[in-house]
Symmetry: C2
Subunit: 277 residues, 2 copies
DNA sequence: AATACCTTTACGCGGCGTAACGGTCT
DNA sequence: TAGACCGTTACGCCGCGTAAAGGTAT
């Protein structure tokens, strides 16, 4: 019979952990002294102790190891558990590799002294009910007119907005021949009580986007858009819809360009192999 | 000014986490109401919130992000932190890949219904003071004679053994021509008071080994040795010394072969590329 | 009587989720 | 006045390290 200290040395498991394993029923001492409470282990428990260490080093959690030992060493169950862990580990590796890719991309970007390096987030824009107005413009600068029309109509229809509203502008397409820009502006609505010929009420589904929020004038938009587009390519995503902006602080709420806060969103999905054309 | 719930929606950070970030000084509200304690955030804080999410998704811990923001966005420091993280992530990946390799090896092994699958541990056998007796044998079965001599001499010299002792047998080499086996048996000693012509007292340095502990007769040794040798090859290690056994329960302490507990140790080191011969 | 070893209890780490209990706003 | 929102406090997860406070063996 070995006292815990001796068994600890022989098994290379710390005394603390042996007590812990006893507590969770993973490795209980052969015998516990009734009066002193001392734990006594037998040499025959060394193979089990070593097995625990081996499974731990394969990446199994203590709970999983408990299951391993309890389930009888039937080979089928054993193999299943191994294969499940193989899956988990592959996923972890894939995840870390995607992080590593992004980190390396960011390191390269530091060369360009780009102020937005490391600012892009992949997130979901939640499903929401919106009121929308879509029209064709000659220039981006005319977007303000769309907002005016939308706001006026909403006012007339007594549309109720939620406390937290999104003002978004979706770029549907640029037609170089006609020099036209197809833009849709949207506001989140709480309830829509009326109807209008100009406006459309609809539900926008949740979307996965690459998002970058910046502060400042719209002169930065071109650079930001290019940066996000590059980021998507470099990080194994592909475009999955029309890009849009969310105006958190806009000419409607402040006069100073430097105070504008804009979120640039590129709908994305994981890149699927090559597309056969 | 946005209440925490609104800012939570706009930033995609849960209310709980916003409060936590306030607590650790990572993102403090623009303003806190003196009377109600309500936190109020400004839209201008959205870029910072998004940046926090971005850095988190790169794998930075909150503490590291705090440092990021505190350190000024000087590009040099920024790049250093990125490169450090790149290193950490590569190491994590390498570690997971070695685990994955071992798991896959174990899965293949289940085919063979090998009872020792998933029992091998890489551990360090600690540095220790030993008394040793080395001789050449015709057969493994003669190893008992070495132990008898060692024990007798130790008895004569009144060698003091520690409570936790290792009995090891090192296989120095098999010479097929002379049909000789060069074996050294060792016992851990506490103190060595005398000296002997037969025995040697020495210090054995700590060694990294692949270890497998099994219970049963020595008939299993051949299979076990082959399994461990294969495991070492398959898992990118190479032999780094003479293999040895640790006898935890041996003929000296029990008569039943089925009760023997033996630890098979192969000294190893990570495999270094090819060796030019 | 000193020392080495044993016992139990409990806190810390990190990044959250979750819940309990009570005040505030509309 | 209800109900949505805010506040603080605190526990759980997981695998350990670390330490305090006290009993036991030699």
């Amino acid at each position: 019979m070995l006292k815990i200290g001796d068994f600890s040395i022989l098994s290379s498991i710390s005394i603390h952990m042996l007590r812990h394993y006893d507590e969770i029923g993973l490795l209980t001492p052969d015998h516990i002294d009734r009066f002193t409470g001392y734990r006594y282990y037998s040499e025959e428990q060394l193979p089990a102790a070593n097995r625990i260490l081996a499974l731990k080093s394969l990446g199994f959690a203590l709970k999983e190891i408990t299951r391993f030992l309890g389930e009888s060493p039937a080979e089928d169950k054993f193999r299943q558990l191994l294969e499940q862990k193989e899956n988990e580990k592959s996923n972890e590796i894939r995840f870390l590799e995607s992080q590593l890719l992004r980190i390396r991309h960011a390191i390269l970007e530091t060369e360009t002294k780009n102020e937005f390096t490391g600012c892009i987030v992949v997130k979901e824009i939640p499903k929401r009910r919106v009121v929308s107005y879509r029209a064709k413009l000659r220039e981006y600068s005319q977007e303000g007119l769309l907002w005016e029309t939308l706001n006026d109509e909403c006012c007339r229809l007594k549309v109720v907005f939620p406390g937290t509203e999104y003002n978004t502008a979706i770029l549907h397409g640029v037609d170089p021949d006609h020099e036209e820009i197809d833009v849709e502006v949207q506001k989140t609505v709480e309830r829509c009580s009326g109807s209008s010929e100009l406006l459309e009420f609809k539900t926008v589904e949740a979307e996965l986007v690459a998002s970058l929020i910046f502060q400042g004038g719209y002169g930065k938009l071109k650079d930001v858009n290019e940066y996000v587009a590059g980021w998507i390519r470099e990080n194994n995503w592909e475009l999955n819809g029309n890009i849009f902006n969310i105006y958190h602080v806009s000419p409607g709420s402040t006069e100073q360009e430097s105070g504008f806060v804009t979120e640039v969103c590129f709908p994305i999905r994981p890149r699927t192999g090559e597309i056969v054309s």
